[in-house]
């Protein structure tokens, strides 16, 4: 167990290091953008004097590495600066949006992960059957369609032709859970459709990959029925790749929602990011990017740890 803790600690440090590098890239990228921030805020009509004053006020005359460390120091404490668009604290704006995004991602994950694993196991069990072929074809279709397109199709089917769910997912903090779920069903379904296909195909492939192993043959020669061979003998050994693909897709559910949120006008981080980019509200853009990066790194870390824990050789050393 000690070895596992050390391994996890190592990965955690590595993740933090990666995050640091990403933060430099994000800050540097914004820095490289043409135009002057003070000019941007004050508009074309500002005098040179007021621009110079604001530059002084914002600390823009300091060298960039000092401003980077100021920004990073704030970010570590949860202070991402002040939005240029509305002068409110970035963190304050971001928090409820991020909560919304997490809610949507969680909802989609609750549908997608169990569905994907069950379908994947079934496809492996019934491989080369009609079920396997059909699910294979459908998953390919859903992977190859862009998610906004899937979103519009769902709107047409489930909101316009058969009005079951609302087409616009405008939620607010006072809403009850049930109402919230109802309104976010369509975006959650859209995202679930995209990620289920990946996870299902990986589950199927990971299991089938093992079916030629001697221990699977041994299980069959002990008279173990087919279903049990898959679930008890193959699945536990296929966990590492499955955990990996699940974790990466969960990260995608959070960071890849931009288009879906725009299609359904959902007040999440993705919407905020798009709005801020159009308004050139750099502090918000930086904060969004950093959060997305952190999410991605965190889920990669979880995938690594999960894969390590699923390996009995590491859980139970000699």
């Amino acid at each position: 167990m000690q070895g596992v803790i050390a391994l996890v600690g190592k990965r955690l440090l590595l993740g933090l290091g990666t995050l640091l590098v990403v933060s430099i890239i994000i800050f540097g990228a914004v820095e490289l953008l043409p135009g002057d921030l003070a000019q941007q805020i004050l508009g074309q009509s500002a005098t040179e004097e007021t621009v110079a004053n604001l530059r002084e006020e914002l600390g823009l005359n300091d060298p960039s590495y000092i401003r980077y460390f100021q920004w990073l120091g704030g970010a570590v404490q949860g202070d991402f600066g002040i939005s240029l668009a509305n002068k409110r604290s970035v963190a304050e704006q971001l928090a409820p949006r991020f909560a919304n995004t997490l809610f949507l991602a969680g909802y989609a994950a609750l549908i997608a992960v169990p569905l994907a694993i069950i379908l994947g196991v079934l496809a492996a069990l019934l491989r080369n059957s009609v079920f396997d072929r059909v699910s294979n074809a459908l998953s390919l279709v859903s992977i190859s369609s862009p998610e906004f397109f899937l979103g519009y199709i769902l709107i047409v089917l489930l909101a316009v032709q058969n009005p079951v769910f609302p087409a616009i997912s405008n939620v607010n903090p006072d809403m009850g859970l049930w109402e919230r779920l109802n309104r976010t069903t369509l975006p959650a379904l859209t995202m679930a459709l995209v990620v289920t296909a990946y996870m299902m195909r990986m589950t199927r492939a990971a299991i089938i990959n093992l079916l030629a192993s001697p221990y699977i043959e041994m299980a069959r020669l002990k008279g173990v029925p087919n279903g049990r061979v898959i679930t008890r003998h193959a699945l536990p050994n296929a966990l590492a790749p499955i955990i990996n693909v699940v974790a990466l897709n969960l990260a995608y559910l959070i960071t890849g929602v931009v288009l879906v949120e725009v299609v359904f006008v959902y007040p999440g981080v993705g919407q905020l990011l798009v709005d801020s980019v159009t308004k050139r509200d750099f502090p918000v853009v930086q904060a969004c990017c950093l959060i997305f990066a952190a999410t991605f790194i965190l889920f990669n870390l979880l995938a690594d740890v999960g894969a390590i824990l699923s390996n009995p050789r590491l859980r139970h050393p000699k």
Partner: protein, 554 residues
Amino acid sequence: MPKDQSVLLEIRDLRIEGYSDEQWIEIIHGIDLTLHRGEVVGLIGESGAGKSTIGLAAMGFTRDGCRISDGTVEFDGMDLTSATQSERRALRGKRIAYVAQSAAASFNPAHKLIDQHTEAPLLHKLMTKAESQADAVELYRRLRLPNPEDIGFRYPHQVSGGQLQRAMTAMAMSCRPDLIIFDEPTTALDVTTQIEVLAAIRDIVEQFNTAALYITHDLAVVAQMCDRIKVFLKGDEVEEAATREMLEHPKEEYTKSLWAVRSFQREQKPRPPEGSTPLVSIRNISAAYGDVKVLNDVSFDIHPGMTVAVVGESGSGKSTTARCITGLLPPTEGEIMFNGTALPPRYQDRTKDQLRQAQMIYQMADTALNPKKTIGEIIGRPLQFYAGLRGADLKKRVDELLDQIELEPSKYYHRLPSELSGGQKQRVGIARSLAAEPSFIICDEVTSALDQLVAEGILRLLDRLQKDLGLAYMFITHDLATVRSIADEVVVMKEGKVVEAGPKDVMFRPPHHPYTDLLLSSVPEMDPDWLTNLLNERGVDNVGEAAAASSGGN
């Protein structure tokens, strides 16, 4: 009570087809086999003889890409070829059990041994979990596994190979089947461990009057274990007879050739006079993988034109010594002298000429040859690298080398490794090492993956090359029969140390170091009474002790 000796398994005109190159090809051509209760029949033959396929077919099982095309497999009155899937499943594990070649690969790494052991009795509803666990412990005890109470609660990777093989035999016994198929159960084990497993299997089969099909390519093993022997060649039966008769009077030429394999022996060369410079001198080297020390003060000399066999069980440091000599693993202490001068420890620091002098041939010719390169390219590469040959000169030299390893140049030059047999691939490995024109070759278990007839061909070839080119060999092996046939000097290693070393004739003559003695006496002999006598000699308890000792070592 007299033992029940009625017919248990009756295979009639069994034909099995395999799917390859888009068509079904017959691989088993009409086999008959009768097995009585409590009887052990050995199926022997070289690889590709179809032994395993027949063994699995006795359970009504074929691997993916194979099918039973004709014939019947009647087990206790039920024809398995026409039985339904669930009827066959009801027999498997319960009345017919299987012991696989590699227990390490055949135990599921994700579950504890005892959970895998109890799976069949629980599935077939023969025992409760508690009963089955108690029974498992009892079987572990009978099979002389160390700590029978606890060993089942370990995961497969926490248990050594020999113990796993016994645990698998215990698992096969879990439902007290009428028939067990043993598919090369000791092939992957060291000789010392093999004895324990053989004794355990024989005991338990006798105690429960279990019938068994014992599949192996090792004639000496089959002589110990079986009442009758059937010899197979390429899916056909060659002959069948009771064990003693088969050993004493084999009828068919093929069987005689199998028996004759161990006859190759070349004359031992005398040691060079005291004080002459050895070609390779290994002086007090120690080495470690990370923090794990694997070599401890190893020293021995290899003289020009001589063959030094390095023997020992797996994990004794034989291959690590080779890695130190070639510079792949720089030793932590000590040095390697070549013709009297010290070699730099890392191969990166050696000159081209130093690298050229010492070449290697590997155990698995399959993985040691690049599958995407033709034979001509594989052998040509060291010629380009060391001798800088190009064009027609290169082709000419490759052809010469192919001639030397007895492969026809025009036929093999453009082939890929996948188009060659195991023995031919090993020959290409030899040619590649010769291309560098070395004075010294390390042969790492070069014959252990090969059938005996093919292995003998390789040994003869190596011997001829040694005579023609004056090569020195370091011959790493765990097979003492090979040592007997080709070595001049023998070095015995155990746990990273040299326990004994000397000229072959001395080493094979008592008195021995106790470990050498254990190794020597553990090599199965063709005499069917060998195992019985040996066990009597050592006393049964001694086997248990040897088991405990080897478990400590692993």
